[in-house]
Symmetry: C2
Subunit: 203 residues, 2 copies
């Protein structure tokens, strides 16, 4: 059902020319981040957008579909960054590339990733998204473990703990990064890469 | 008003022998973390505790008072850790001590700090807590800046960005740390200290 609803979301994103639907999704994600998904009603959404319920339902099937589309967007972008990282030939380059890619995804998709990071698993859809995030986390932990085996990363830390510390830095980006501020995503990615890889280098 | 409600929370914590009230606070914090403060009703609280409303109101004045007590607990512990850090004589020791202290506060007060980190500022109470958190963040940023002036921390990063990356690692602890797991707070603090200070050391 959840998987079906994500597929439906993807199909209808293709099926209908974007702009108005993108506005509905964007406003929904913003409201969910402001007041919480569970606390947001369809009436809140129509009030924010200044449209009728029937206009809203022209673009999306439900409040849950907005959540599904946003989570799929965030997770899809992270999975793409992982695939790009895995295409690199060395453990060092793969680890560096996933840090780089994840920072950029977070800087560029702040609202959607914020929603993902705050999920509590209160529905089948949320649980499926959390499971997809866990698969991503496990794949990154494997990259860290491979870097440890090659003595690129200190081995006195568990690979899982090291991964969580790196992603602690990366995930904090959604809380404080301002796209209009002085730091661009590229140099932010360079900084986090440097701090993480220097910090984790064996002594 | 908000300050008054925190003071009232503190007074009544002193005035009434603890156990039952502590249970009410603990259950409230747990529910707020599970389903969001705004989405939690007083009925949800009484259902979770298996008590009547009048029994609940024997211990706390309101749902908001539970939030006030929990936030004051988290913020007070962080402010105490800061005061302890500031008592150290050198910039290096201060920075190291605040990382250490903050990790322990987060590991020991996970539910309360989780609530603090998820605040959206939807009420005067939440805004006051966010302001108190901002003052703490600014004080830590000053510690990082002092360490930069003494060339203990790389200066190609803005002190604010460096602080946010360090606290990204520290704050992630509330998301993944399990007190019953293999890592104790003390060695977690040592690891985060090492990764942060090595990662930020000038090259």
């Amino acid at each position: 059902m959840v998987r079906g609803s994500m597929d439906a979301a993807r199909r209808s994103r293709r099926g209908r020319p974007g702009h108005d639907r993108a506005d509905v999704i964007r406003a929904g994600v913003q409201l969910f981040n402001e007041q919480g998904y569970d606390a947001t009603s369809v009436s809140d959404l129509t009030a924010r957008l200044g449209v009728t319920k029937s206009a809203l339902y022209h673009h999306v099937d439900s409040k849950e579909q907005i959540l599904a589309v946003a989570l799929d967007d965030a997770l899809g972008a992270l999975e793409d960054a992982l695939a790009t990282a895995l295409a690199h030939p060395t453990a060092q380059a793969r680890l560096s590339a996933i840090i780089d890619g994840a920072v950029r995804v977070l800087a560029e998709r702040q609202p959607e990733v914020t929603l993902l990071l705050r999920l509590r698993g209160n529905s089948a859809l949320e649980l499926a998204a959390l499971e997809r995030r866990r698969r991503f986390d496990h794949a990154v932990t494997e990259l860290v473990r491979a870097a440890q085996e090659q003595k690129l990363v200190r081995t006195d830390l568990d690979a899982g703990v090291a991964t969580r510390l790196i992603f602690g830095m990366i995930n904090s980006v959604v809380e404080w990064y301002r796209p209009e501020g002085p730091v661009d995503p590229r140099s932010l990615a360079v900084s986090i890469n440097a701090v993480a890889l220097e910090g984790l280098r064996p002594r």
